[in-house]
Amino acid sequence: MKRVRDWFANPWGQPRALAVITWTYMAWSIVPVVIAVLFSFNDGRSRSVWQGFSLRWYWGDPSLSVFHDPSMRGALEQSLKLAGFDMLIAVPLGVGLALGLTRWKGYGARPVNFLMLFPLVTPELVMAVSLLLVFVLLYKIPLGTEAQVLGQVTFSISYVVIIVRSRLLSIGPSYEEAARDLGASPVGALRLVLLPLLSPAIFASFIVVFALSIDDFVVTDYLSSNESTQTVPIKIYSGVRGTTTPALNALATVMVVATLAAVALAFLVYRWALRSQPGQQGALKEIAALEA
């Protein structure tokens, strides 16, 4: 009995009690995903009874697989298209805004900084409804891809600004001043010193915007026009109520893999980009220690 207690709660040993809680949580949260992914490889039509391994729901089935079903393929394409536009527009705008906000010391800087956080704290449904109203009634923007991109950019920018601004604040003004001192023009200092130092944050922004866009359901759904502008989450959501096949699981799996790949890529590039920057060494060592 004492040995069991010592294994679990020995103050001088490993914190095993915490480890048990952690692993329980990990299992709890990952099991549904694993099951969903597993049934995307099911050979039969069932999403709950295992009938053997196959890839038919990815591309094997000539009409119902993700690859061949036009609505699923369209949803995947629409998702990637929106993510691409969102990244291309939100990241440069967000970087510019972050640079401006960091320099802006006068009146108005504080309220604007606060407003930047607004999209993060507003319930998404409220935001979606209001965007729909102003787009349709005020700006006369046709629903569909344009409206969806604009809507996603609207809330994505906040995340970019927060990521880039925190990096800017930790970089401080001295590198830029040094560049100016050594003869670089304001634009030169930005291009030669600030942007290279910001590159990890900019890269992280791309990935975050990609993940936000791919995952977004509410805003994208409200601003969609018809079947042709459905994205993967919308397709999965509407599919749940109709007759479904494991192709839906396959579609979801593609999303999960895409998001995971993006995050993994972000981690690797971030690590590579920061390998020679001071002040980041500590964080890097921590990550390295975690891996070991």
Binding site: E177, D181, L197, P278
Partner: protein, 386 residues
């Protein structure tokens, strides 16, 4: 690299306000070409702001910054022929040592071969030859400091601005680099404007020092003069250890100032002998003489040894005078046997030629001799009154 003859700076009624606060409160300074000039003062005295104004990172609220006679106040920092060594070094972490040092040359579109030649020459001069491919993060603090110096020197500026460049280094390295910096300054003949709060650093390296306080210049002088002849209470107190005593001055008496310290009358041979009224006198600890209690003579005040502190190279005595004032005395450990014992009554001799009378506090600010330039004094009085 040839010696330079330009690089004279003149600050005229320079003023910088941040909101309501005047960080630099109308200062006038003349810095000669090729001079090692230090701005010395406690934190918040305006010395770094003054440096940033010269570099161009801050825009003056009023006044002029003349470099070799040309006003630069409205010139952008990248167009000024001055370079800065930052306290944090601010080496670009994404560039290697070569890239850092070549940065300024590349902005001037210098030819490739010449960039290489000049970078290698300057790295040799700061003893960092062979470190071209290292990243700043792979260098020690002292090496980073040298790269920062090389990065600025390679552009052959008229004036080099240094913002506490040794502040982040340990004491031993700091000492070594002090001498090295001074050597480089003499070899290149560049005007150095050096900001520091470390009085020893300023005394060791400078040709002249400006002591600053509250956004104003208290005194400009060579190190020896600054130490021996402080013009204000602030300078006397800030630079080295000083015994400051409140007295009532009674004007000149045979070339010295009569100063009443409690029941005793002292004569102060330094300072303005004509001062009268409530003011302070100052004497350095190493000039204080301790004599047997029975000894007689002028400028002697009885006291009692309160504390004896052995410092190794010297011995420090804290003596409480009969007037209640506490005086420190310092004796160099030169082998002379001294037997100071706590509680011993002694006579404290404050020699006439070592005792200095300071101007009364109210008069200290507009004192014309504390200002280096003639036309400034009137304006300074007005600013001081406003």
């Amino acid at each position: 690299m040839s010696k330079k003859t330009d690089g004279a700076i003149e600050l005229v009624e320079l003023r910088k306000e941040f909101g309501e606060v005047a960080a630099v409160d109308g200062i006038d300074l003349g810095i000669r070409a090729g001079e090692f000039f230090s701005l010395l003062g406690p934190s918040g005295c305006g010395k770094t702001t003054t440096l940033r104004l010269i570099a161009g990172f801050e825009r003056p609220t009023a006044g002029k910054i003349l470099l070799d006679g040309v006003d630069m106040a409205a010139v952008a920092p990248h167009r000024r022929k001055v370079n800065t060594v930052f306290q944090s070094y601010a080496l670009f972490p994404h560039l290697d040592v070569f890239g850092n040092v070549a940065f300024g040359l590349r902005r001037q579109h210098v030819k490739r071969e010449e960039v290489r030649r000049r970078v290698e020459a300057v790295l040799e001069a700061v003893q960092l030859g062979g470190y071209e491919k290292r990243k700043p993060a792979q260098l020690s603090g002292g090496q980073q400091q040298r790269v920062a110096l090389a990065r600025a020197l390679v552009l052959e500026p008229s004036v080099l601005l240094l913002d506490e460049p040794l502040g982040a280094l340990d004491a031993k390295l700091r000492k070594a680099l002090q001498l090295e910096l001074k050597g480089i300054q003499e070899r290149f003949g560049i005007t150095f404007v050096y900001v520091t709060h470390d009085q020893e650093e300023a005394l060791t390296m400078s040709d002249r020092i400006a002591v600053m306080s509250g956004g104003r210049v208290e005194q400009v002088a060579a190190p020896a003069e600054m130490y021996e002849e402080p013009q204000t209470v602030f300078v006397a107190d800030f630079l080295g250890v000083s015994n400051l005593m409140h007295v009532t001055a009674e004007g000149a008496d045979a070339g010295a100032c009569r100063a009443r310290l409690g029941d005793f009358v002292l004569r102060a041979g330094n300072g303005d002998a004509a001062v009268s009224g409530s003011t302070r006198i100052v004497i350095r600890p190493e000039r204080v003489r301790i004599e047997p209690y029975e000894s007689m003579g002028d400028n002697r005040v009885p006291g009692m040894i309160e504390r004896v502190v052995y410092l190794g190279s010297a011995e420090q005595l804290v003596v409480r005078l009969a007037t209640g004032d506490v005086v420190q005395a310092l004796f160099v450990n030169d082998g002379t046997p001294r037997e100071f014992v706590q509680g011993t009554p002694v006579q404290v001799h404050l020699p006439v030629d070592a005792l200095r009378v300071l101007p009364p506090p109210a008069a200290a600010v507009p004192e014309p001799e504390a200002k280096p330039l003639e036309p400034a004094s009137d304006a300074a009085v007005q600013l001081g009154a406003g």
